[in-house]
């Protein structure tokens, strides 16, 4: 089974409202590309500033790492960025630092409208980016490759990811898909203010590729606050929790898992299938997505031998 087919399947499971976002992103990207072509010609950038962790990871993966001169304050991967200048984050980009780095390409997030306007006034070329679905990750990789003059490496990376994802999908194919509650945030130590992945977005796609079925498939949003009652009613076979940020000790993880004992009727709780995963690879839609999907698949299908790279 080819990767394209897999992604089409992913696409089919999505509700019809989501292409709006993805389409908008593509349009923005297209618009930015047209502006760039018109204004400056298709010059290959030599000094790139990346504001968003996923983009930084993509740039390094496609061999554009040596051209990156500044990265976002929350970026942690790959290790090579340790000594690069930091230019703020999603809500507080530092325009002065960015301009002082004399970039010839900046990759901001689509919602950073002020930053985009200021950089536009400064005449700095832009590539606008926004999170979307899993297939958007591959599109972004290829587009960034074209834009930075690393098209061939980008194509290799994208094909590699497609192949790896296809291999995982192959490994779990034929298995019953456990109905899974994918928890993306909640208050520490309790089940309060719990947010779960809805029926769209790259985390929902990761869950499907890893051989799971989202209990909130029908929900249109990417993240939804769900109540205790909704969870009880959904009765998931597996509870999969992802937490980015600081690593938790095994004791802390055990304590967070134990919180679910409050809902003893959940099949996931009764069968001891509450899994708590930490790490940024689970929440950043970049090249490490394969790693994330592998970890999801391992949690959902512990008896399956997964391909290793």
């Amino acid at each position: 089974m080819s990767m394209n087919m897999t992604l089409m399947m992913v696409g089919k499971t999505r509700t019809p409202t989501t292409p709006g976002l993805a389409g908008r992103v593509r349009r923005l990207t297209l618009a930015a590309a047209i502006v760039l072509v018109a204004g400056l010609g298709a010059q290959t950038p030599q000094r790139i500033v990346s504001v968003i962790p996923a983009v930084t990871e993509i740039l390094f993966a496609i061999g554009a790492g040596s051209e990156v001169v500044g990265v976002g304050s929350y970026d942690q991967f790959p290790p090579e960025i340790a000594n690069l200048p930091r230019i703020g984050g999603l809500i507080d980009p530092d325009i002065e630092t960015i301009i002082a780095l004399r970039p010839d390409l900046v990759v901001p997030y689509a919602t950073q409208v002020d930053l985009v306007a200021q950089l536009g006034r400064a005449g700095i070329p832009l590539f606008q980016y926004s999170h979307g679905t899993l297939s958007d990750v591959l599109t972004t990789i290829r587009q960034l490759g074209d834009r930075t003059g690393h098209a061939r490496q980008a194509e290799d990376v994208a094909r590699g990811i497609e192949a790896d994802l296809a291999a995982i999908a192959e490994a779990v194919s034929g298995r019953r898909r456990p109905r899974t509650l994918l928890v993306i945030a909640r208050e520490p130590g309790s089940l309060r203010n719990l947010f779960a992945s809805g029926g769209s977005g790259f985390q929902h796609d990761m869950l499907w590729l890893a051989g799971g079925e989202n209990v909130f498939d029908a929900s249109v949003s990417r993240a939804a606050q769900v109540t205790t009652e909704t969870i009880l009613q959904a009765a998931p076979d597996v509870v999969l929790e992802v937490r980015a940020g600081q690593a938790l000790s095994p004791a802390e993880v055990a304590r967070e898992v134990a919180v679910w004992q409050a809902l003893p009727s959940l099949p996931a709780v009764r069968n001891g299938r509450v899994v708590f995963l930490t790490g940024n690879d689970l929440v950043i839609p970049g090249p490490r997505i394969v790693q994330g999907v592998t970890r999801f698949a391992g949690a959902l299908h512990p008896d399956v031998a997964l391909p290793t790279r």
Partner: protein
């Protein structure tokens, strides 16, 4: 003593009675108190009984109370006893606490615009919650998770600071200083909150913003039991206040001349209202509007006597919040709306309408 009416003397026997004063209209405070409490208490009771029956999932009451089905297998019973009943109880506790705390703060500050959050208690609670969510401080105490513990500590710290400021400079308690210190502390804590949010990552910021909107989904009785002792102490203290608060509205001297220990009353009022607010906010986040709408609504309905206003506000606050929570969890199910949005959206216009129709 002959010129004063004895217990059996009819008012007409009293010499300087002008025309009209001889009528014996029935006015019994005890009866008023009984009727009002029966009415408002009934409302609260109905809300507690009805709310667990309403929800996005249809549940069969027969199954909920069927002893033949083990609890661990009985989803209907679990939805009833884990998801809905605790929510309704938490709503009652929080609604009653915030409403009475609003009454007490308004009387203490002699300011009808005061709310339970005016003196910085909620800002302190928010800061505490935010610090735990952002920095993951391990503050869990005896099985109570870290966020409520930290928000309670934050609220009591804020109350302590405001109280110290209002009493430090001179003997007695200056309500003006109390108000100014509270408002200042509110903005000061808000600034720290913004600073903490600024240095938090996106997911944490989102979590804290959501906490600030208030939420009653306590998923079990344990958080309620944890908040109960503090709330209990606060309500016992509330019970000693009504008469003194009535007299305090006449002024400090008038109250003191009628045997009220003004400073002690102010202390008890401040402490109990802060305690109730802190416990409520640590249980459900800072749910707005109840602390101002309910007391005024009750006063419009039953007058200003705190002996009636306080229990009536407790009952109406409880019923109102439970009702708002039903809307919050069913209106857009399975997604939950912030209950603070519902309290403001329903309470606000209703309150304005009441103000407009007042003669």
């Amino acid at each position: 003593m002959t010129d004063r009416p004895g217990p059996d003397a009819s008012p007409a026997a009293h010499p300087p009675v002008p025309a009209g004063a001889g009528r014996t209209r029935s006015f019994s405070l005890r009866r008023r108190l009984t009727f009002t409490l029966a009415g408002f208490g009934g409302l609260a009771l109905v809300s507690l009984l009805v709310a667990p029956l309403i929800g996005p999932t249809p549940i069969a009451l027969g199954r909920v109370f069927d002893p033949a089905i083990p609890f661990a297998d009985n989803v209907d019973a679990q939805i009833f006893f884990i998801a809905r009943l605790p929510r309704a109880l938490a709503g009652m506790l929080v609604g009653a606490s915030l409403a009475v705390a609003g009454v007490v703060f308004q009387a203490l500050l002699r300011n009808p615009l005061a709310t339970p959050f005016t003196l910085g208690v909620s800002a302190g609670a928010s800061l505490g919650a935010m610090l735990v969510i952002t920095f993951g401080l391990p503050m869990a105490v005896a099985g109570v998770p870290a966020v409520p513990v930290a928000s309670l500590i934050g609220s009591l710290a804020a109350a302590g600071i405001v109280y110290a400021m209002a009493t430090l400079r001179r003997r007695g308690l200056s309500t003006t200083v109390l108000l100014l210190a509270g408002v200042t502390l509110n903005s000061f804590f808000s600034a720290i909150i913004m600073f903490v949010q600024y240095s938090a990552d996106f997911a944490q910021t989102f979590q804290t913003v959501r906490w600030l909107m208030g939420n009653l989904d306590v998923s079990g009785f344990q958080p309620i039991i944890a908040a109960l002792p503090l709330t209990g102490v606060a309500f016992v203290m509330f019970a000693t206040l009504p008469r003194a608060l009535n007299l305090l509205t006449l002024g400090r001297d008038s109250a003191a001349a009628r045997g009220v220990d003004v400073l002690r009353t102010q202390r008890v009022a401040f402490l109990s209202a802060s305690l109730a607010t802190g416990a409520a906010v640590s249980l459900a986040g800072p749910i707005g509007f109840i602390g101002i709408v309910i007391p005024h609504l009750v006063r419009l309905l039953v007058g200003a006597d705190h002996r009636i206003v306080m229990p009536a506000s407790a009952c109406l606050g409880a019923a109102f919040l439970v009702a708002c929570d039903v809307v919050a969890r069913t209106a857009m199910a399975p997604v939950e709306l912030p209950v603070g949005v519902i309290t403001a959206l329903t309470g606000g216009p209703f309150f304005l309408w009441l103000l407009m129709r007042r003669p």
